[in-house]
Structures are given as structure tokens and as C-alpha cells.
Amino acid sequence: MKLMEYQGKDLFRRVGIPTPNGVFATTADDVKAFIREHPGSWVLKSQVMMGGRGKAGGIKFADDAQQGETLARELIGKVLKSVQNPDGEEVKSLLVEEKVDIASEAYVSIAIDRTAKQPVVLVTAQGGMDVEEVAEHDPDAIKKYWIDPARGYSPFIGRRLAFDAKLPEGFRKAFPAVLGALYTLFMDYGANLVEINPLVLTKDGRVIASDAKVDLDDNGLYKHPDVAAWNSESPADEDQAAAVAIGLGMSNYAKLDGTIGVIANGAGLGMGTMDAIRNAGGEAANFLDIGGGAQADLVKKSYDLVTSDPKVKAMFINIFGGITRGDQVARGIVEALKGGDVREVPLVVRLTGTNAEEGRRILDEAGFVPVETMDEGAARAVALAAGSK
């Protein structure tokens, strides 16, 4: 679950990472009222997930309440477009923050290193720009440290990284505590990534997180119900919301660009099915893993979800029975289609494994033609999609 900047900063404050003073606002009136009460220069930052928001015009500066209100009206509802996100993203809220006088900008992040099976810290004195760009042009400027989760964080790690990355002297006193707090957040909230870019040293000597990028592991969200609720308040990922709504796992459904709907049991088989469709000359319209032991009801809901995409011109259901029983799946498919309230598309069903014979018989009786292999099924689905309107 990726968090918006204002949500990330909420977590920062919980663990004691300093953030700029400010307020979260969803209306221009809120912005106006806030600046009237707190006169001064304020930054209006559009709350969007996409990168490149500054260049896209999503950040504005206001010196008084009137200007703040006008700019907020411009921003809220505006669709920002950037190189990273050509489709654009609508601004629904703003973060109003103090304008800080920047003396220096650093970068710090913690991510999971899957190979080392440890959290890895990245620090560079070249903050405020894309870290991948720094990695390309000046890789030695990025210093890394792998933290052993059995021992955890200790301040020497922050001290060493600050020296090694040549952070300006003003950072040195605060940095070990900031990194320690960031590690606490990373482990306690279960983050795939926490990134502060830039971590700002102000002219008056404060060290503050000017931006916040936080991506939380969906599997750990149950530990923090209040944070998990942010997702349902504003579902950042429509696919995830759709999957959860029908009782699938959060990452078991992803909408793609092709014309052939896919339902498979198992993530690996789902990916394999997408690949088989491409090998047969088509493109999958989605990824959908109905998981093990799928019941008729879930098959129907999955079918409805996939066919709700108007691009879908044929459906390929690929079931290799391990735990999932073929007869149950077959009944689910028949039930999904006999209701009359479904969008009918040409349907290819590949069924094998446990109780597959009975499953094929059920499908036969219902008027479907099951196929034997994944390759055959993909080829049939691609042909049917090309032939249908």
C-alpha cells in the first residue's frame, strides 16, 4: 500500500521524524482559513501518487490567504500529467506547509534487500533529485548499509553513513536519530520502502523531512488497523479495491491492456497464462488469481469482475487442480453463466488435476468445450477474441 505524502508524514511524526509545520486540506476554504490564522509564506503541495508533480505544476507558493485560496481552487480537481504518468492524476487534496529556507538537501531511504534478506539503508548528500539518476551519474555518492534485523539499529550506523556520504556538518547531530526513527517506522509498520527526499537542513539549523515516500507491505497492514483504513477511505489502487471487494487477496487482481480475460488458480499459473496468451499472439486483459480451493461463488464474482472491462472480448479460465477441485470450478463456471445477468463472451476453459474428469463432464453438459492444455486454450481464446465483435 503506497501512502500519500501527508499520510507518510503522519507516520513520520508518530516515530519522531521532524516534518514541516502545516495542515492537510481538501477545500480551498480550508486553505484560506488556515493561512488567515497563520500568516506567512506557505507551500501548497498537491497530494498525488505520481512522480514529477513539481514539474507538472502541482506545487504552488502563497503569501497570503487570498492567494492561497485562489491557488487551491486551481489545484484541487486539476489533472496533473508528467512524463512518469502521461494519463494524469486528479488532485483531491493539498498539504499546506511552511516554506523552509534550505541550506542543504540529503537523501535517505530504507528498503528490503531480498537477496541479503536484510533492510538496506541508502544515503547520499545529493538530495532533492531522483536517486536512480544519482546512481547512474555518481554511484560512489550513494552509501549503503545493511542492518541485521537480529541486532536492529544502533546510532553508529547513522554516524558512519553521515560521514561516509559526506553529509554537511549541520546534519550530523540529528541524522542518527532520524535514521533510527526511520528504521523503527520501517520495521514496526512493515514498509517495503521508506524514503525521505529531500531530508532538508534549514538555514536555521533544523533537519526536517520535506517529503515522504512510504510503501507498506500489505501483509503487515493488519497490525495497524488505523493505517489500513486509509486505504479504504481513499483507495489508491482501484485493482486492489476491486479484488478485496469480491473477497480475493489484495494483489490477486490487476487490470491490464489486452482483450483476453484471464482467471487462473495460483499466481504463477496466472502469470504463465498471460504469457501463453502473448505467445499465441494476443494480450491478457487482466491478471486474476482465484487462489486455492476456489468456490463457485468466487468464480462467478471473478468472472463478473473481469468481464466488467469492456475491452474483454474472450475469456480464458485456466485451472490446474492441486487443492482446487475441478468439479467445483466447473460448477462455478456454469453457475456464473446461467444467471443471465452476466456479460457473455466466448469462453475457453482448461481444466486438469483433481476431479478434472467430472469437471469436464459438467462443462460439456452445460455446452462448453473444455480444452486439454494451456497452449491450446490460449490459442483458442486469441482466435475467439479476434473473431468476436
Binding site: N192, N265, G266, G321
Partner: protein
């Protein structure tokens, strides 16, 4: 010989009276797995219908049965605790079927359970065909033989194994390592074990997008496996960037985890990458041809 698991391995089931645990216990027993007991807190002193004793703790189960292997069927929030309990009781190999264990729990577990091999989480388990099954795989599609098989997936493994068996390629051991970002046993760990297993004469590595486990596997093969032909497969080659596809670990983020990088790495190690699972038996047969029978 096989790896990690043979006919005599004594296995306990953590969560033996739960729905999944009970169901798969019977399947494993039917396959011939030497299941010596199980654990369900509060049900110690009883036996399950097929006669195996139930213990309150893993320690009691190990003391009472001499078990070395454990298979874990517990909810995600209890996954780390179950693994620590197994480690504490001296279990040598734990297969963790549970899907959805937080990655940070696994970071802590992996860092604190040295001496115990963990397979998974989020995996279908482990099978040495004809000998023992410690997992949820459908045993009937496997056949005893000499191909070592490693995979990140469940059903895709079955798809590939089914093709191998139909083509006459039996398997020595098949390890489903799991689809999560942090897993106990990686491709390289399995390859290292297969490299010194005389019964394994060829290998199939079924990876997928995300992470760099496949690249590490390719590098290991290049360095250490000269005498056993390897065929690879990468699932999700048609996947777009940034979409997480079912497995928590199956995501291309930035330039990491791309299929291109994995195909290239295997290519550099002289390992052919099958375009489709159905091509794997043919590629394997081609690679085995020059070797006199």
C-alpha cells in the same frame, strides 16, 4: 537420495487439527509420508483419527517422536511464532505453507533461526517423489526420477511437473520455494544441495518476475554446476512494470526484477529459457541427448 527429504524423515504437522492441516495430513499420509504426530495447543494427549498423537507444543512433539521435519499450517499472524517455536524445539527443516506472513516478520525470523532450514512461506512445500511429501502438492502428478525441480510458484510447478512426468522425466526432489519477497530457502540454496546429490542428473528452475533470485541462480549455475543440464522458465514475461501479480514478490520495480535481466543471466550461464512450460521437456531432452545413457 534426493535433497532435504527422504523416506525416513520424521514429520510433524503444526496445526494438525485445523481445516487445512487435517486435510493435508491425510493426503500426506496417503502418499506415504512418515508423519509421526502434530501440534495443536490444548489438544495435547489426544490422537487424530488415523492414530497420530497430538501435542500441545512443538517441544513436546519433538521430545515424544524424534521429529526432524515440520510442516506449518497456521494463520499469517502466527507464522513467525510457529517458525520460532519449531527452531526452539530443534526442528531441522520447517516447511511453511502459510500465505501472507508480513515480510518484516520473515526478516526477523530468517535472522534468528540459524541451523534450521525454512522452506517458504507462501509455498506448496517439498516432495521427493516415491519417498515423501511435505506439502500440499498433488502427489499423483509426480514420478520418481532424476530431475531436480525448483519453483517459486505452486500451480505453475504442477503444470511443469505434469509435463515432465508425461514426457517420462521423473523427479528426484521438487521444492516450491514460495512467492514471497523474503523466503527461507532460495534457488541458490536448493541448487547447492542438488549439485551434490548423485540422484539428480538434470535441473529445472522455474522463476518469475521480481527480485533477483533468478539472476543469483544463474550466476551459481555458471560457477558451480557444469555436469547437470539446467532448463529455466520465467513466469510473468508479459507483465507490465509496477503491477504486483498475486505473489507479494512478483513485481517489477524500476529496473529490478525484469524478465529481460533474468533471461539474459540464464543465457550467460548457458541455460536455455523455455518460452512456454510445454517446451521444457523438449529442451531437457535436447540437453540430455549427448550424455550416454
Amino acid at each position: 537420495m534426493a535433497i532435504f527429504l527422504d523416506k525416513n524423515s520424521k514429520v510433524i504437522v503444526q496445526g494438525i487439527t485445523g481445516r487445512e492441516g487435517a486435510f493435508h495430513t491425510q493426503r500426506m499420509l496417503a502418499y506415504g509420508t512418515n508423519i509421526v504426530g502434530g501440534v495443536t495447543p490444548g489438544k495435547g494427549g489426544t490422537t487424530i483419527e488415523s492414530g497420530q498423537p497430538v501435542f500441545n507444543t512443538v517441544k513436546d512433539a519433538v521430545d515424544g517422536t524424534g521429529a526432524t521435519h515440520s510442516i506449518i499450517f497456521v494463520p499469517p499472524f502466527a507464522g513467525a511464532d510457529a517458525l520460532w517455536e519449531a527452531h526452539d524445539a530443534g526442528i531441522a527443516l520447517a516447511v511453511c505453507i502459510t500465505e501472507g506472513i508480513p515480510a518484516h516478520d520473515m526478516l526477523r525470523v530468517v535472522a534468528t533461526t540459524s541451523g534450521m532450514r525454512i522452506i517458504g512461506g507462501n509455498c506448496p512445500g517439498l516432495i521427493s517423489p516415491g519417498k515423501s511429501l511435505v506439502g500440499i502438492m498433488p502427489g499423483h502428478i509426480f514420478k520418481e526420477g532424476n530431475v531436480g525441480m525448483i519453483s517459486r510458484s505452486g500451480t505453475l510447478t504442477y503444470e511443469i511437473v505434469d509435463g515432465l512426468t508425461r514426457a517420462g522425466f521423473g523427479q528426484s526432489t521438487c521444492v516450491g520455494i514460495g512467492g514471497d519477497p523474503i523466503i527461507g530457502t532460495t534457488f541458490v540454496d536448493c541448487l547447492r544441495a542438488f549439485a551434490s546429490d548423485p540422484e539428480t542428473t538434470a535441473l529445472v528452475v522455474a522463476g518469475e518476475i521480481g527480485g533477483s533470485d533468478e539472476e543469483d541462480a544463474a550466476a551459481f549455475i555458471k560457477e558451480h554446476i557444469a555436469d547437470k543440464p539446467v532448463v529455466a522458465f520465467i513466469g510473468g514475461r508479459s507483465a507490465p512494470k509496477g503491477k504486483r501479480l498475486g505473489h507479494a514478490g512478483a513485481i517489477i520495480s524500476g529496473n529490478t526484477g525484469t524478465p529481460e535481466s533474468k533471461v539474459k543471466a540464464f543465457g550467460e550461464a548457458g541455460v536455455p529459457v523455455a518460452d512456454r512450460p510445454s517446451d521444457i521437456p523438449r529442451l531437457l531432452a535436447e540437453r540430455l541427448k549427448p550424455v550416454p545413457a
